[in-house]
Structure formats: structure tokens, C-alpha cells
């Protein structure tokens, strides 16, 4: 077996893009979770299904859809060229997008439960006390849902760290540019660098364990209502 080693730049890159993905995903994902928790509207079941799709579709299938959309000939790719003069596929930006799409269902599902557990009576009383919807959201809903939201963000982060199938299709495996922990392990296995693969495996396992464990702890210790 080749020497055990940990490719730190790859780990660091993966952590950065995963964090960025979750950061960009959060406002949209939380808004979606709030909408699904609070409102009824025609087509809601369809929206719920769409949001859950990346959880159930084979990740490479999702990757294929993203590739078609973000590629130079796809609508997303062309828009990026027209608006920003940049390519998306085969760059770190595609990694971020792949992570965002794959993490969306986990964030929305967890945050939605958190929002549903906030007693609507408390929000109603806040309104009678003169709070605007924005104030109700920021002073009652979000604080009371905060643990569940944090757990959801952490789960999303953990998922992003481990993302492989969609990423490899849409961002490739370009050393120094788009190689993540997962794609690096794949590559190292293929080229016989088992030692490096095991090094990254250890890091990956530690990160995943930490994130999930923390998320579970937070989910259990919810704010008493």
C-alpha cells in the first residue's frame, strides 16, 4: 500500500466550498421550509416532491440534469456567459451548485419540522402585540426554531462534504480546481494510491461523524415551548 497521507489542500477546499454552498442555500432553503410549514396552496404536493427529488434520484442522475442545464449549451451556462462572462461547469462554482442542490432536501425537511413545531399561538399573540410579519419572524419564529434550523444546516453541510455523484459529472475531477475529498478518494483508488485514499477516508469519516453527532444533539435538545 502506498504511504498513508492526508491531502490537506483538498480537505481545505472541500470545507470551503461546502460552507459556501450552505451559506448560499440557507436563505432560499429556509424560506422554502417556512412556506411549506405555514401555507397551503395549489401545487404544494408538487413542490414538496420536487424539493425531495435530489434525495431520492441517483446523484449522478441529478448531476446529469445539472450538466445539461449548466453546460455551455444549456440555459444556465449561457446565462452565466452572458451575464458574467464565465463558465460554470468544470469550475469550483459547479461544485458549489451541485452541493447546494444535493443538500437542499435535507435542509428543507429538517427546518420545516422545526418551523412546524413553533406554536402558532405564540406568533398570533405577537401579532396582536403589534409585531409586523418581519418582526414575528425574527423575534419569535426563528429563535424558537433555531435549534432545528441549526441541525438542518449542519446536516446540509455534512451532505455537501460527502457529495460525489453530481459533482463528478458537473465539475469533473480537476486537481487543484474541483477535486473534493470524495472525488480525490475515487481518483486515488483508481490510480492505486491507496494510502492517500485511506487518509482522506479518515478525515471524511471524522467530519461526517462530528457533523451528524452535533446535529443529533441539537435536535434532541430543543427549546422548551
Amino acid at each position: 500500500m502506498s504511504a498513508f497521507a492526508v491531502d490537506l489542500p483538498v480537505v481545505w477546499f472541500t470545507l470551503r466550498v461546502a460552507a459556501l454552498a450552505v451559506l448560499l442555500l440557507a436563505p432560499f432553503g429556509l424560506a422554502l421550509a417556512l412556506l411549506l410549514a405555514r401555507r397551503r396552496f395549489p401545487g404544494k404536493a408538487l413542490l414538496e416532491t420536487l424539493v425531495s427529488l435530489p434525495l431520492v434520484l441517483p446523484p449522478v442522475a441529478t448531476g446529469l440534469l445539472l450538466l445539461k442545464f449548466l453546460g455551455r449549451r444549456g440555459p444556465g451556462g449561457r446565462a452565466a456567459q452572458a451575464l458574467f462572462g464565465m463558465d460554470v461547469v468544470f469550475t469550483w462554482k459547479a461544485v458549489v451548485v451541485a452541493m447546494m442542490v444535493m443538500s437542499l432536501p435535507l435542509l428543507v425537511r429538517t427546518a420545516r419540522v422545526a418551523f412546524e413545531e413553533v406554536n402558532p399561538r405564540l406568533e398570533a399573540v405577537a401579532r396582536t402585540l403589534g409585531a409586523s410579519e418581519a418582526r414575528v419572524l425574527s423575534t419569535v419564529t426563528l429563535p424558537l426554531a433555531s435549534r432545528g434550523i441549526a441541525a438542518g444546516l449542519l446536516l446540509a453541510f455534512a451532505r455537501a462534504l460527502g457529495e460525489f455523484g453530481a459533482t463528478i459529472l458537473v465539475a469533473g475531477n480537476i486537481p487543484g480546481r474541483t477535486t473534493t475529498i470524495a472525488t480525490a478518494i475515487y481518483n486515488d483508488v483508481q490510480t492505486g494510491l491507496d494510502g492517500r485514499a485511506y487518509g482522506l477516508l479518515a478525515v471524511s469519516a471524522a467530519l461526517a461523524f462530528g457533523a451528524i453527532f452535533l446535529s443529533e444533539v441539537w435536535l434532541k435538545r430543543r427549546t422548551n415551548a
Binding site: L67, G71, R72, R73, G77, D87, V89, F90, G172, N173, I174, P175, N187, V189, Q190, T191, G192
Partner: protein, 232 residues
């Protein structure tokens, strides 16, 4: 009732030619053949890990050497009868002309798909080519590594890269790419496809027969038709 399946691990670039050859082989009464097409580096790895392959048809000598050193090649069965040419392809709808390797170093070309230059044979050959003419360092930052020569072809077909290097035989198969230029035999690396029987092949007798058939006149004609350079 054909339960005997000869399992052939073959380089991706041989896909179409081999399928045709196997079809005529079976029609002539030969045993059924099943293929596993992928980059030779991956196939060699799989064989090392114990995959039950009967034959290994590699796109470069390096992968076969590796297996031989590991004692996985049946002595006396290794032979190379095929060679290929490297070509630079561009998407079918590309407009700017690409005439030589130097053009790949200009800013017109942002991304070049190559087989993984550390392992996939076509990528290894490509890197040797670039190193041979001294432009590898200029080209390396633009490289999008792929899993196999067919993946390189797909990347160029999709238009997501500006150019790619594949074998001439692959470029001829695709309607969505055009050949920008061929790598002249003089400046290109020596491409060779060694074939061999895997040691301890589960279906040795049938596999030996198919291996023989691959060197037959009929098979060579098929290979030539697909654009391979047939030696001997």
C-alpha cells in the same frame, strides 16, 4: 444453451470494433463473449483486485506490464497487433480553426479534455506528446481530466470543453466532433495495444480461442476498417 461466457476486459477505444468482431465470432459458432469496456488503468486495477476476467485487451503496454509483474498474465499469450493515432478534436460546431498544437496554448482554448494523464492510457499518451514538444506546462492548467477516451469524446461533443485528445478511431465514430489535426506519428508517442490471457482465467479454453480469433484476417480487417493501424 450458451452458459459459457468469455469475459473480456477491453480498453474503451476498442468498443465498436470489438462488438462487431464478437458478433461475427458468435455467428460463426463461437462461445458468447461479454465485455467490460473502461480505461485500461481501471480494468487493470479491477483484475488485480480479483475480477474474473478471461482476457485483458489494454491500450498501453504500461498497464499490461503492471499485471505481468503481478503474475496475472498467462505467459506466452501476450501480443500487440494494433496501434492508433492521436488526434485533437473540437466540438462539431466550433468555428475558430485549430491548426497545430501551438494553437492549444492560446487564450482561445480555455479547456482541454484529456484522459487522466496519470493513468488513463490516452491521457498518458497525450501528456507524452505535449512534453515531447515542450508545451505541457502551458497546457496543463487547462486540462479537464476524464475517466476514459470515450468520456473525453463525450466532453468534446457536449461543447463544454474547447478541445480534446482522443484516438483517431474514436473521432471517426462520432458525428459531433471534428478532427482539428492529427498528431504526426513522428512527434507522437508509440501507441500499442497488447492483448493477453489472464492467468487463472475461468474459461481458459474458450478464451484462448477468441484471443486467436482476434488476430485472424477477418478480425484484422474489422480493426482496420475502424481506423486502427494493424501491425504484423
Amino acid at each position: 444453451m450458451k452458459e459459457l461466457l468469455v469475459l473480456v476486459f477491453a480498453a474503451a477505444s476498442l468498443t465498436d470494433a470489438l462488438k462487431e468482431i464478437a458478433a461475427s465470432w458468435e455467428t460463426a459458432g463461437g462461445e458468447s463473449v461479454a465485455f467490460n469496456f473502461a480505461a485500461s488503468s481501471l480494468l487493470a486495477r479491477q483484475i488485480r483486485e480479483g475480477a474474473p476476467a478471461d482476457l485483458f485487451l489494454s491500450a498501453d503496454e504500461v498497464q499490461m506490464d503492471g499485471l505481468e509483474k503481478a503474475g496475472l498474465v498467462e505467459p506466452g499469450t501476450r501480443r500487440s497487433i494494433l496501434s492508433n493515432t492521436l488526434v485533437v478534436v473540437v466540438p462539431g460546431d466550433a468555428t475558430a480553426p485549430l491548426l497545430s498544437a501551438r494553437d492549444l496554448t492560446t487564450s482561445r482554448v480555455q479547456r482541454i479534455a484529456l484522459g487522466e494523464p496519470g493513468s488513463v492510457p490516452v491521457g498518458v499518451y497525450s501528456k507524452k506528446f505535449f512534453e515531447g514538444i515542450g508545451i505541457w506546462t502551458l497546457v496543463a492548467p487547462k486540462v479537464v481530466p476524464t475517466e476514459s477516451v470515450r468520456a473525453t469524446l463525450a466532453a468534446v461533443e457536449s461543447g463544454n470543453v474547447d478541445a480534446g485528445i482522443v484516438y483517431r478511431t474514436d473521432a471517426l465514430i462520432s458525428k459531433k466532433v471534428k478532427i482539428a489535426f492529427e498528431v504526426p506519428a513522428a512527434s507522437g508517442p508509440a501507441i500499442s495495444y497488447p492483448f493477453a490471457l489472464v492467468k487463472g482465467a475461468p474459461r481458459e479454453a474458450a478464451a484462448r480461442k477468441f484471443l486467436e480469433y482476434l488476430s485472424s484476417k477477418a478480425a484484422r480487417a474489422v480493426f482496420a476498417r475502424y481506423g486502427f493501424l494493424v501491425t504484423d
